[in-house]
Every structure is written in C-alpha cells, then in structure tokens.
Symmetry: C2
Subunit: 106 residues, 2 copies
DNA sequence: CCTGTATTTGGCTATTCTACCAAATCGCCA
DNA sequence: TGGCGATTTGGTAGAATAGCCAAATACAGG
C-alpha cells in the first residue's frame, strides 16, 4: 500500500475508531434525538463526568459531533447524521453471526 | 445505562472496532471485488503475512468476513456487504471536517 | 469579588492493541 | 514419507486506551 493510500485509510479508520466504543456509540444515538449537554449525557451513561467529557472530545475531534457553549453549559449535537445508518448494518452483522452459531449449516 | 443496554452497545462497538484499523478497512474494501486469499491481500498491503492473518481473524471473529479453505489456500470474502456503505458516510465526515477547518465560519 | 455549578484537563494505572519474528500446522505431491 | 508453499499461532516489546480522582477553568449571580 503506498503512502497516499495508507494515509487515506488511516483517516477513515480514525473516524470509525472514534465511534468504536460502547459509550461513544451510545452518545451518538442519544444525540440523534437532538442536542444534549454533558450533564444529561453523564446521567444517562452513569460514568464519571470527566470520562464522558473525554469521550465527547474524541467524537468532536473526529468531526462526528460539535459543541456549542451557552452560558455555563456545553451542548453537543450530531454533525453528520449519516452515521446513524451504521446501526442497522451493525445489527445485520450481529444477526448474521447469531444465525451462523445457531444453525451451523455453513 | 443498565446492564442490558450496556452489553448491547458493547456488541455493536465490537463490530465497529473490528473495522477501525487502516489495514482492516483496506481488506474490507479489497474484498468488495470478490474473494481473495491471504497471499494476495498480503502483497497489496505490504505487511508481514502473520500480521495480515491476524487482522483477518479479527474481521472473521466479528462476523464481517468468512474464510473458505481450498487446498492449501484460504480465501476470504465479505459476509455483510452493507459495511461498504460506511465508506461514503465516513468520507462525508472527512469532507465536513475539511470544510470546517478551511472556512472557519462557525 | 466570591461562591456554586458545569465542564475540561492533568496525572496515573491497568488493560488492550499492533507489529514482527519464530515456530507450528495444513494440504499436496514427488 | 519428506519437503514445500500457505497460513496460523505463540511470544514479546512498545504504543495507545479507558477510567477515575484531583485540580484547573469558565460562567452566572449575588
């Protein structure tokens, strides 16, 4: 793989990697219903607020979400809604895998 | 987040994680053109064959690809083609990010 | 200006990844 | 059966992650 291709795939992988964590996936889905502030997300997730804040910055740096400060609060929202389409395909993968294991027909 | 939701998001994240690596993304795209054996993939990627083999097993365990042994060779192919749809959305993310940085309009 | 609330940042540890080399397996065929 | 090409597996060092706590920063009001 030449350097140009390599960096292209690295950039793509970085985007997927930013979503490849249970908490961050949860955040993405939560934001599909509209913007949320850090406190709301933290309450739902049930982890330390500093942990959630770091997950949010991972997603923001990847360009998946953006932040808007209003007063003392910071509201996050989805920048690229098409990432929500990933969910159905991921479910397909999981279903397919379950079927494989159950049937063992191959 | 309750345990049930948590494990659901963990399963989903595991699927994304299996693709969140430049080499593995490259493999997925390479397999969109049909099955390939380990040697072919290794030649294109330019890493140690044992490294490629391990990447392949990550994707196989996730249920994204499957292997079929024919003679001494092992051919890999895509199980769930919908993952190819991820690429266009990922490009959208990258484009959006590039635009942000260029324009600085916010 | 001082306090309280909201969020981010720094620091640290435990865990997980990744890549390579070496060694083990697997299937074919001389 | 012995050797060969193809692929996987075991081992390991180094890099990257994730989570928590403590401390820093940012804002709104009083």
């Amino acid at each position: 793989m030449n350097p140009k291709d390599r960096s292209r795939y690295e950039a793509r992988a970085a985007v997927l990697k930013s979503m490849a964590h249970p908490t961050r996936l949860y955040i993405v889905e939560a934001l599909s219903g509209g913007e949320r502030n850090v406190r709301e997300l933290t309450d739902r997730i049930g982890a330390d607020i500093s942990t959630v804040s770091k997950h949010l910055s991972v997603l923001r740096n990847a360009g998946i979400i953006r932040d808007e400060k209003r007063g003392a609060q910071v509201f996050y929202s989805l920048v690229v809604p098409c990432v929500l389409n990933f969910f159905s395909c991921v479910e397909t993968v999981l279903d397919e895998r379950a079927r494989e294991q159950a049937g063992w027909v191959r």
